[in-house]
C-alpha cells in the first residue's frame, strides 16, 4: 500500500490537467449562463485555472517568477471585478433583471 502511494505522487502533469478541466468548465459557464454576475464568476474560474498552472510550473522549474505573475494576476482580477460589478450595478439599476441578451447597446 505504501509503495502504491509512493508511486502515485501527484506530479506537475496532474496539476496541469486539473487546470485544463477547470478552465474548460469556466469557458462553458461563460457561454451557457445568461446572468452577468454568474458569467463573471466563471471568468474567475478561468483565471484561477491559469493561476494554478502558473504555480505548478513555478514549483517544477524552481522559478519564483511564476508566483510573482500569479500575484499580479490576482491584483488585476480584483480591479476587473470592481469595475465589472460597477457596470453591472448601473445596468441593473436601469433595467432590473437584465440578462446578457438585453445588454445590446453601450448607452444603457
Amino acid at each position: 500500500m505504501n509503495e502504491v502511494l509512493a508511486v502515485a505522487t501527484p506530479t506537475t502533469t496532474w496539476y496541469l490537467i486539473l487546470a485544463a478541466l477547470l478552465f474548460a468548465i469556466g469557458a462553458v459557464g461563460v457561454l451557457v449562463r445568461r446572468n452577468p454576475l454568474v458569467m463573471f464568476m466563471c471568468i474567475e474560474l478561468m483565471l484561477n485555472a491559469v493561476n494554478l498552472s502558473f504555480v505548478a510550473l513555478a514549483k517544477r522549474l524552481g522559478d519564483i517568477g511564476g508566483q510573482t505573475t500569479v500575484f499580479f494576476v490576482m491584483v488585476v482580477a480584483a480591479a476587473e471585478v470592481v469595475v465589472g460589478l460597477g457596470i453591472i450595478v448601473s445596468i441593473m439599476r436601469r433595467r432590473p433583471g437584465a440578462t446578457a441578451d438585453d445588454v445590446a447597446e453601450l448607452k444603457g
Binding site: 496539476y15 478541466l21 514549483k59
Partner: protein, 182 residues
C-alpha cells in the same frame, strides 16, 4: 499523503466549478465559487506557494466573493434563473463541444509534453523549500526587486478602478444639475 491531499482538493475544485455553472440561484453559485477557491488554495499550499495561498483565501474568498454577494443582495437579483429555457437553439451543444474540445486539446498538449515537464516525479527545488518563510522572502525579493515598476503600476490601476467604479455607480442628486441629462 500528497495523493490524498491532491484528490480531496481536486474534488473540491471540480465540484465547486460544476456547481457555479449548474446552480440556478446566484447566491448558491457564489458559495460554490468559494469551494473552488479554497480547493485551489489547498493546491497552492501543496505546491509550496504559501504566501499566494494566503492571498488566495484573503483576496478571493474574503473580498471578491463577498463583493459578489453584496451586489447580488443589494440588487435583489437573487431570484432563480430558469436554466431549462434555452435562449438559442444549439447554444448548449456548441458550448459543450467547445468545452470538451478545449479540455481535450490542452490535456493532449500536457500529456504529450509530459517528458519535457517531467512527470517522473516533482523536482526538488532548493530555493523554494527550506525553512518556513523562505517562500515569502523569495517572493518579496522578486516583487520588490525585479518587478517593482509593475508593482507600483498596480497601485495606480487599483486607484483608477476605485475612482471609475465610484463614477459609474454614483447617483446624481435631484437638486444638483447634472451635466449629461442623466
Amino acid at each position: 499523503m500528497e495523493l490524498v491531499v491532491f484528490v480531496i482538493a481536486a474534488a473540491m475544485v471540480l465540484v465547486g466549478a460544476v456547481g457555479v455553472i449548474v446552480r440556478n440561484n446566484p447566491v448558491h453559485a457564489a458559495l460554490s465559487l468559494i469551494l473552488t477557491l479554497f480547493g485551489v488554495a489547498v493546491m497552492f499550499v501543496a505546491l509550496e506557494a504559501h504566501f499566494i495561498a494566503a492571498v488566495q483565501v484573503i483576496v478571493y474568498a474574503g473580498a471578491i466573493v463577498v463583493l459578489f454577494l453584496f451586489v447580488i443582495m443589494l440588487l435583489g437579483v437573487d431570484r432563480a434563473e430558469d436554466l431549462k429555457a434555452e435562449p438559442f437553439r444549439l447554444q448548449r451543444p456548441l458550448a459543450a463541444v467547445l468545452g470538451i474540445g478545449t479540455a481535450g486539446l490542452v490535456i493532449a498538449a500536457v500529456v504529450s509534453a509530459r517528458d519535457a515537464i517531467g512527470s517522473g516525479g516533482a523536482l526538488q527545488t532548493p530555493d523554494l523549500t527550506g525553512d518556513g518563510d523562505s517562500n515569502i522572502r523569495e517572493l518579496a525579493r522578486s516583487v520588490f526587486g525585479d518587478y517593482v515598476v509593475a508593482f507600483e503600476l498596480t497601485s495606480v490601476l487599483l486607484v483608477v478602478a476605485v475612482v471609475g467604479t465610484v463614477m459609474l455607480t454614483r447617483r446624481v442628486k435631484s437638486g444638483v444639475k447634472s451635466e449629461k441629462g442623466e
